[in-house]
């Protein structure tokens, strides 16, 4: 290895030569070298403190005991702690009074939206619009079979509908009229039912049959009876379809939807928040006794005030 000065550049060579090609020696500045040493030292310390060395089934744990799962658990519990006070407030507030407190209502709607995505979308859909082909009701509209106030929605959520394991579940069964009404009578009743919402011409025979067999639950004008879960028949919304064939089918062999009672799986605060969310979807009804006047102050921010306003007035 002979080192020499390369004349054109005035730089020393490193002394290697391959087929006449030589390498110039342009060394690093010393501080750079020290930077390399510093990174090596850092790595040595890091390997001891943190998980680093891949072994057969898992990596070395590191003396600090740090793990990304541990980090996640910490963050989750910190978030839980941060929410705790709001949860307590929601738990302590009567559900009909929630809209009176815009911040709480906003928190409840947000929490309900999150819980909805986990527990409810399987049947009611991500947009809470239900699936008519399966008989899962739409929660955005203004038609409520079992009532659309906050209290009623909360009750439905808590106890479910036709849920065998819950004592207080909402339950009703429409009798099957197959064998009771013949084909002609069924067609007449279906025709009358459709006429209630203006979809067919009136049918006196059907009206007579309706008054005898149906009006007890659905009401003489077909307005329904939310207290016992009898759907309104005089509107544009049909859970199992509004065609003549679908109505006939429902008269002869009614379908009965089932919804679980969520009290066994969710805590009361989550159920309350879910009720608030469903109520806020645009069709929530107001409880019969007048709410105390809680017009939002101009100082409250828009979204919160709107939520309160909506809950108060929609429906």
């Amino acid at each position: 290895m002979t080192k020499r000065i390369d004349q054109p550049t005035g730089t020393e060579t490193v002394g290697h030569e391959w087929d006449g090609i030589e390498e110039l020696n342009t060394p690093l500045p010393r501080w750079w070298l020290w930077t390399f040493y510093a990174t090596i030292a850092f790595a040595a310390v890091y390997v001891v403190l943190y998980p680093a060395w891949p072994m057969i089934d898992k990596a070395t744990a590191g003396t600090l005991g740090w793990s990304s799962r541990g980090d996640l658990a910490k963050e989750m519990s910190a978030a839980d702690m941060a929410r705790q006070s709001v949860f307590e407030k929601i738990a302590a507030t009567d559900i009909e009074k929630l809209p009176g407190s815009p911040e709480l209502m906003q928190a409840a709607v947000s929490g309900g939206a999150a819980a909805f995505k986990v527990n409810c979308v399987q049947c009611h859909g991500a947009g809470a619009a239900g699936y008519q082909q399966f008989g899962y009701p739409n929660l955005n509209d203004d038609d409520w079979i079992w009532g659309g106030t906050l209290t009623e929605i909360e009750y439905t959520l808590t106890h479910g509908i036709r849920w065998q394991n819950a004592d207080d579940t909402r339950v009703n069964y429409m009798p099957a009229f197959a064998g009771v009404l013949d084909a002609g009578q069924t067609a007449a009743v279906a025709s009358h039912v459709l006429s209630l919402s203006g979809k067919a011409k009136g049918n006196p025979a059907g009206a007579q049959l309706f008054a005898e067999n149906c009006a007890a639950c659905h009401g003489p004008a077909g307005a329904g009876m939310p207290a016992m879960g009898a759907p309104a028949l005089n509107d544009a919304i049909w859970l199992y379809g509004g065609s003549e064939a679908a109505v006939r089918k429902q008269i002869l062999a009614p379908r009965h939807g089932v919804m679980p009672a969520w009290k066994d799986r969710l805590d009361p605060v989550t159920i309350k928040m879910l009720a608030a969310y469903v109520h806020s979807r645009g069709g929530g009804q107001q409880a019969a006794p007048a709410q105390p006047d809680t017009s939002p102050t101009p100082a409250t921010t828009g979204a919160v005030a709107q939520t309160a306003e909506k809950a108060k007035t929609d429906g």
């Binding site: 005035g10 501080w31 947009g127 509209d141 509107d235 828009g302």
Partner: protein, 525 residues
Amino acid sequence: MADPKDLARPQPQAGQPRDWSGALRSVTDAAPAGPASAATVEDAGFMGSALYEKGKTVHNKRIDGPFRRFKWLVMLVTLAIYYITPWIRWDRGPYAPDQAVLIDLANRRFYMFDIEIWPHEFYFVAGMLIMAGIGLFIVTSAVGRAWCGYACPQTVWTDVFQHVDRFFDGDRNARARLDKAPWTASKTARRLAKWTVYLAIAFWTGGAWIMYFADAPTLTVDFWTGNAAPVAYATVAILTGTTFWLGGFMREQVCVYMCPWPRIQTAMLDEKSLIVTYKDWRGEQRGSLKKAAKNPDQYGDCIDCNMCVAVCPTGVDIREGQQIGCITCGLCIDACDKVMAEVGRPRGLIDYATLDQCKAEAAGAPPKPAWKALLRPRIFLYFGVWGAIGAGLLFALGTRTHTDLTVSPDRNPPYMLLKDGSVRNAYTLRLRNMEARPREMEVAMVGLPRGAVMWTDAVSVENAAPVQVIAVPANETKIVRAYVMLPPGTDEDESEHFAFRLTSLDEQGEQDIAETTFAMPEDDE
């Protein structure tokens, strides 16, 4: 001596390509030709190979001259802009901050005197960045690395710290002596004092930075009372550290080893760019005045006094030609002109000149004033592009409205059938009021059939109407959930596309229109 005919004399290689032979001589002098001695190599590193290069501290000598004074001026102006700008107040009324230049990250607003930029107008910032980039192209192709030499923060702060060195330790020779001196009490005291001043400058630098991101007087009080955000303290700590380290100790190493800009500039310089050059055809052969007096025919104008090297803030020898370490600050021009004046030779042995001009002068052409190098198509072209972007931005700034509407329809569910057979669609409206005062705005629907009504969460369905008036707070985007309802029996074909029209209900009467669609149920019965 000053006769130009004499100057042209010592140039045996006139008309030939420039080969920087003068530059190489210094290296070959230091290490004589032939195999370097083993001792020299081992000195340079360990294990017989030069793994690293020992850092050499640059102790630049004080110099005065036009370029030094220009450097003072630029330093004064840039530092003044940096430190003072956040403290300038600017009245924007009660709903907007009164700081002239403020990057309000929390509220996503950028204020610059009379201009306020919202996040959706970020193209203004992008345009200014493009202008800054093309501005650098102009400057580089016109006057070489002038940015590096005068205005770059690294240069400015290095200059500041070098003056601190001079204040505490004296000029070049005294500083070099003190570096080598043993660590006596007096040296320790001096070093501690100097580093304290370094730290104070560095801290002030970091402290000034955060003032751009919050109300400066409030933040100052918060900072010293411990109430500022942790990120403020962290930012100050990081910037103090980097300023202390990069300005106090790394200095020219940043330009030579870390900065990508000198490499990029290399690609933008050509033989028509002004750079700092040593006119070797005039200077070589170098020799002291004594040697030159004995053999006047053999020696050029360079008296090899090394003043150009001594004053250089990055420690390069400009006589070796263009190099990455040369930031073209012109201090060597000041130094050389001074020496030339003292020995009675014409100025400009080291000077701003283009390589073309150097070649022409070497061949005997008369010197041309440097400013003539600026008149060339490339610079006009760059300037034209730069000016066009600037004019475009100004035009956009002048014609933008302060009222803006965006609409996003609910997609799940797309429509909602109600009990009475009417159909409801929901939309999220974003109403932007970019004025620093609250305004009433009217939202209307254009292109929907008669009977279409609208309400929002704030006004209930009973108050549904074709037009709603919404109060939008000053300087804010108001997000409104709006419901639009078509009565039963509407022919759906004509109601597919429509638009929301936003009108500000003030003397400005600004309007914005946002198109969207109204979804109807498919007719399945």
